[in-house]
């Protein structure tokens, strides 16, 4: 900053010029979209000019740019300046990440009993945990195997509908249906993956996106099975070893344990279910990473041709990653169904896939703790703006852009080796490939 102060007056003209250009561009950008609003009038549309709002936008761009030019960017590019300004935060992340895991686990376990915890916080926590689990599931596919999947929500939907259907039609309990839903989702992963996994890169991305949309459209239109856009309601709640967590359950949890009834009990119970499911996901994934299968996933991400020369059946290896990722998505889907008690195709749109992928990439591909941090920031953080639904999504989108420009490889970039001879040294994210599949 010191050097920018000395030459402040010298740089003022160029800074003014730059700000003026930016203001002019923003005028062009916002002239129609912000400057004139379409107003509904019976039969036709009217226009309502909003010059002051437009002036506000343009002014904000002008002064914002001027301010940044004078005090932050000494001629450097936007991204470089942003990167260098925020670099220490990233380093702190890297440094505290080994301590973060145990601290977060302890925090999660004790959360329901902390003094400030109320129903709202628990609901948010359940949602964040669901996304953590989905992120961990997708991390297997995208982060480890390097396969870009833009239709992950399909498996989430398969899991949710599988549970909802077997529970409402055959009366299967959550605990019986859960593995079934996971297996069905895995099966769908294999069915969808089989024809397309030899596609590379963005082609795979667009086909998985198409599959996600196909499944959603089928859910909307297969009225006799899925009840269409109206969705499935009255999905049974999970029980605690047969004990129901309702006021009049037969038998009921609070009577069995002789504690007063509280609707919070069920929320706490749901929180622990998703916590356990997520921890199982994490455990299995971490374990798999150290097994030949997981190592083959990462090798596939690094260099597929070398894998083939080493006798690895790349198709089966990709399918296994796809199926296991799908299975975790299916588990999370059943949990979602039992928690909401109601599901409809609206919950499984592309934007969900995009959010989950964003969590994986923002967290740092392949990093389990990165997914946690990204979920807390992106899901928990934006939950604060709940009342301002559209502004929330706007901020969400902006955050995605800014975080990516700041740290293109995500928050936690280093990779932990799966096996070591003498000492475990983290591999710098710069060396890790991102996969072409």
């Amino acid at each position: 900053m010191a050097q920018s102060e000395t030459s402040l007056s010298a740089r003022l003209p160029s800074a003014l010029k730059d700000a003026a250009i930016a203001a002019f561009i923003s005028l062009a950008l916002f002239a129609f979209i912000v400057g004139i609003r379409t107003v509904d009038d019976p039969g036709k549309l009217l226009l309502e000019p909003r010059p002051w709002l437009l002036a506000g936008f343009v002014g904000a761009v002008f002064f914002g740019r001027l301010f940044l030019n004078l005090f932050f960017w000494s001629g450097a590019h936007t991204s470089e300046a942003l990167t260098s300004a925020l670099a220490p935060v990233g380093q702190i992340f890297e440094r505290i990440s080994p301590w973060l895991t145990p601290a977060l686990v302890v925090f999660a376990i004790t959360l329901p009993f902390l003094p400030f915890t109320d129903r709202y916080i628990l609901d948010v926590a359940i949602m964040v945990m669901t996304y953590i689990m989905l992120g961990w599931g997708l991390n297997v596919v995208v982060g480890l195997a390097g396969l870009l999947d833009l239709g992950y929500v399909a498996f989430y939907a398969v899991g949710a509908y599988s549970y909802a259907l077997v529970a409402t039609h055959f009366g299967l309990s959550f605990w019986v249906a859960l593995p079934l839903a996971g297996l069905l989702a895995a099966l769908w992963g294999i069915i969808l993956g089989f024809p397309v996994l030899r596609l590379r890169g963005d082609y795979l991305a667009i086909v998985t996106l198409a599959f996600g949309e196909i499944i959603r459209i089928v859910l909307i239109n297969w009225y006799s099975l899925t009840n269409g856009p109206d969705g499935i309601s009255r999905i049974p709640r999970p029980t605690f070893f047969g004990l129901e967590l309702t006021r009049r359950g037969e038998p009921s949890f609070h009577e069995f344990f002789g504690i007063p009834y509280s609707p919070l009990n069920r929320i706490i119970f749901l929180f622990y279910i998703i916590l356990v499911l997520a921890l199982i996901t994490n455990f299995v994934t971490n374990r798999l990473r150290r097994l030949p299968l997981g190592r083959a996933w990462e090798a596939l991400r690094e260099d597929e041709i070398a894998c083939r020369s080493l006798g690895i059946n790349t198709r089966n290896t990709k399918l296994s990653a796809f199926a296991i990722g799908a299975m975790f998505g299916g588990f999370a889907g059943s949990f979602f169904a039992t928690r909401q008690g109601f599901i409809s195709p609206e919950s499984f749109t592309f934007i969900e896939s995009a959010i989950i992928l964003a969590i994986v990439v923002l967290g740092g591909m392949g990093s389990q703790i990165g997914v946690v941090v990204a979920s807390i920031v992106m899901i928990g953080g934006f939950e604060l703006f709940r009342e301002l639904e559209h502004y929330r999504m706007l901020m969400f989108g902006l955050a995605m852009v800014l975080i990516m420009i700041w740290r293109p490889r995500g928050l936690i970039t280093s990779r932990e080796p799966s096996v070591f001879l003498k000492e475990k040294k983290a591999v710098s994210g710069e060396l890790v490939q991102e996969g072409k599949g």
């Binding site: 299995v284 374990r287 798999l288 097994l291 030949p292 299968l293 997981g294 190592r295 083959a296 990462e298 090798a299 690094e302 260099d303 041709i305 070398a306 894998c307 083939r308 020369s309 080493l310 006798g311 690895i312 059946n313 790349t314 296994s320 990779r415 080796p417 799966s418 096996v419 070591f420 001879l421 003498k422 000492e423 475990k424 040294k425 591999v427 710098s428 060396l431 890790v432 490939q433």
Partner: protein, 274 residues
């Protein structure tokens, strides 16, 4: 007179032809690879040597021809019919690449462990036993680490075992790629220009390593090489390719004095041979 490598060859290539559209990369090529020989495939740039490798290892399906591999126990494989990973796994053909293909973001040790994927997957009962940490898998994993360590000692990289492969200097990466191929316990090792980019000292070490591999592992080595000091010094048998056609085939001494070779190839680089 039959040459020694024709008596009990591990690999018998017959009438191999590979066309890409109108381009004939290999034209009716036949040669044998002796069971415990170091066989060199040489020829000017664009002669089709790497294409031969890609056909052998299943990356390309040859347009015509047969590649018959006979293991010492009598098992036969027709490589032109098999998929690349099956060739590596069952026929036990290992290869390296002209432009090194290591798993750069994984450590040196991990690279060697990936090469032992198939036995380990088997031992982990397709990840199930591994997930629960059963004893059988743990033993297999220990053996795999031991084998990796053995090869790391051979290539003098034990100290760098836990460093990312992409951090190694170039020569070490070349050696690591050979070690990785050897961890597959192949019966034939195909090396695509292993000495490219090495300095004379590293080139010498490579010769020693290859001779040592042949002696101790009793396997066949097939190599593509431009560095004549490597080829002439260690090969038992040389096949020369030019524009996809075999122009000479014999011992180093024979090839060295073959007028076809001198005309097509060695004429350019005779000072290296001499």
């Amino acid at each position: 007179m039959t040459a020694p490598w024709e008596k009990d060859p591990i690999l018998r290539v017959r009438h191999l032809t590979m066309r890409f559209g109108g381009l004939v990369a290999i034209d009716n090529l036949s040669f044998d690879v002796g069971r415990n020989d170091i066989t060199a495939l040489i020829g000017p740039n664009g002669a089709g040597k790497t294409t031969v490798f890609n056909c052998l290892t299943g990356f390309y399906k040859p347009t015509e021809g047969m590649i018959r591999m006979t293991h010492a126990d009598g098992n036969e494989f027709l490589l032109e019919r098999l998929d690349d990973h099956v060739i590596a796994r069952q026929a036990r053909v290992a290869r390296t690449f002209q432009n090194i293909r290591l798993f750069g973001g994984m450590t040196v040790l991990e690279n060697l462990m990936v090469a032992q994927h198939n036995p380990l997957v088997h031992a982990s009962r397709f990840a199930i036993a591994g997930l629960f940490g059963l004893a059988g898998f743990k033993r297999a994993e220990r053996e795999a680490v031991e084998r990796s360590k053995h090869w790391l000692e051979k290539i003098d990289l034990v100290d760098r075992a836990d460093d990312p492969a992409a951090d190694l200097p170039y020569g070490a990466q070349r050696r690591l790629e050979i070690a990785r191929a050897m961890c597959m316990q192949p019966v034939i090792l195909c090396l695509d220009e292993p000495a490219a980019g090495l300095n004379p000292r590293e080139s010498d070490q490579l010769n020693t390593l290859l001779l040592d591999i042949r002696k101790e592992e009793q396997i066949a080595i097939l190599l593509i090489e431009h560095d004549m000091s490597v080829v002439m010094e260690i090969s038992d048998h040389i096949a020369v390719l030019d524009y996809g056609i075999k122009i000479s085939d014999g011992t180093p001494d024979f090839v060295r004095s073959d007028p076809h070779v001198i005309a097509a190839y060695l004429g350019v680089e005779d000072e290296e041979v001499a």
